[in-house]
Symmetry: C2
Subunit: 215 residues, 2 copies
C-alpha cells in the first residue's frame, strides 16, 4: 500500500514518503523477489510494482540491480553489526565478548535467509560476478572486520597471542559457521536452533581462547 | 581411443578391457563434462561418446547419472584418504599427525576441481537433491570421519579433551577450509598455494591442539 487513502481523499494528493522509507520497502520487495526467482530472473520493474512505486523512482534510488542486491545484503548484516557492537561493550570480559560476538555471527550466517542468499550468490557467481563481489565485500569482509577487531583488542591487551590476526579471524569464523551452514545449504540438515548456536559459540570460544591464551 | 588399432587389425576384434579400466575412463570423461556443462546439461550419451564406449555399456556400469556423479566425487576424495592414512601412521607424534591430515584436507578442499564441484552442487542442490545428498555423504561425511578418527585417537590417549568429538571435528575442518574456499568459490581470490596450505595447517594445529590440550 503506497498511499494513506483517507489522507489522499482529504488532502487531494498522496502523502509524501521519505526516500529512506521508500528504500526500506523496495529492499524488502527485492529480498522476496531474489529468494523466489533468483538473481537472473528478477526484473527491476516487478520489484517496483511489488513496492508500489514507479520504475523511475526505483532507478533514482537504485541505479542498477546490483545496487539493490547490495542493499539486501547490507540490510541482513546490519542487525549483526548492532548485536556485535553490544557484544563488544567495554563492561564485558574477554570470554563473554567472544561468546556474544560468535553467537551473533552464528545467528546471521546460519539464518535460513542468509543461507538462501549464499546459495544464490554461489549459483550465479559465474554469470553475475558483480553480486559475488558485492556479497564478498559487504557480507564476508564486513563480518571479518568485526571478528578481527574482537581478536585485535585482546591481542592488544596481551591476553591472547596469534601469529596472524586476519587469518585467525577467518579460522574462528570457519569454526563457527562452515559445517552447519554447508549441511543446510545442501538441504541435508535443518539450520541449528538459537540454543544450538549458543552452545556452538561457547565451544568455539573455549577452544579458540585456550588455543591462543598467553600463559 | 578405445581399441588398440594394431591388435584390432591383427586379431580381427578389439582387445577386451577390464570393467575397472573402463570405469576410470568414464569417470574422467564425466568429470570434464560436469565441469564444462554443469550437472543438468550433461547428457549420459555424450559421456559415453567421449569415453568411446556404447551407451549400453555405460548404463551397465553406472545405472544413473547420479551414480556417475557419486563416482566423480569418490574419485576426488580417494587421494585424500590415502594421504590421511599416511598422516595417521603409528610412528608419528600427535602434532605431526594433525598437521599432515589437515594439510591433506586443505589440498583436497582448496583444489580448483573440488571448488568447481562444490559450486556445481550448491547451484544445483534445489533441482537435483540426489547430487547434494551424494556429495554430502561421500565428500563431507567421508572426510569428517577421517578428522574424527584423528581427534578420537588422541582423546583416547588422554592427550587432548573435547566436549563433543564430531562437533570439534567440524570446527577444525571449518578453521582450515571455509575462508579460502569461499573466497575462491566467489572468484575473489585464487585458491591458496601448496605452501600457503601447509602454513595454514600448522596454524590451525597450533590453535586447536593448544585449545584442547589436557594440562
Amino acid at each position: 500500500v503506497v498511499h494513506n487513502q483517507e489522507q489522499k481523499r482529504s488532502r487531494g494528493r498522496p502523502q509524501v514518503r521519505s526516500d529512506e522509507d521508500t528504500r526500506s520497502i523496495v529492499i524488502e520487495a527485492a529480498n522476496l523477489k531474489f529468494h523466489d526467482m533468483g538473481y537472473a530472473a528478477t526484473c527491476i520493474s516487478q520489484i517496483a510494482q511489488d513496492a508500489g512505486i514507479s520504475t523511475k523512482t526505483l532507478y533514482r534510488l537504485f541505479p542498477a540491480k546490483a545496487d539493490l542486491f547490495e542493499s539486501v545484503v547490507d540490510n541482513r548484516i546490519e542487525r549483526f553489526t548492532l548485536e556485535a557492537d553490544i557484544g563488544l561493550a567495554a563492561d564485558k570480559g574477554m570470554r563473554e565478548r567472544f561468546e556474544s560476538v560468535l553467537e551473533a555471527y552464528g545467528r546471521l550466517t546460519l539464518h535460513p535467509d542468509t543461507i538462501a542468499i549464499n546459495r544464490l550468490v554461489v549459483a550465479e557467481a559465474d554469470r553475475f560476478p558483480e553480486i559475488a563481489t558485492a556479497f564478498y565485500k559487504r557480507a564476508i569482509l564486513g563480518t571479518a572486520r568485526v571478528i578481527e577487531t574482537l581478536i585485535r583488542t585482546h591481542v592488544g591487551s596481551g591476553a591472547i597471542a596469534v601469529a596472524d590476526i586476519p587469518a585467525a579471524a577467518g579460522m574462528l569464523r570457519g569454526m563457527m559457521a562452515m559445517e552447519p551452514q554447508r549441511a543446510a545449504m545442501l538441504g541435508q540438515r535443518e539450520p541449528p536452533t538459537v540454543e544450538e548456536i549458543g552452545q556452538r559459540a561457547r565451544m568455539c570460544t573455549d577452544i579458540f581462547l585456550s588455543g591462543c591464551l598467553v600463559r
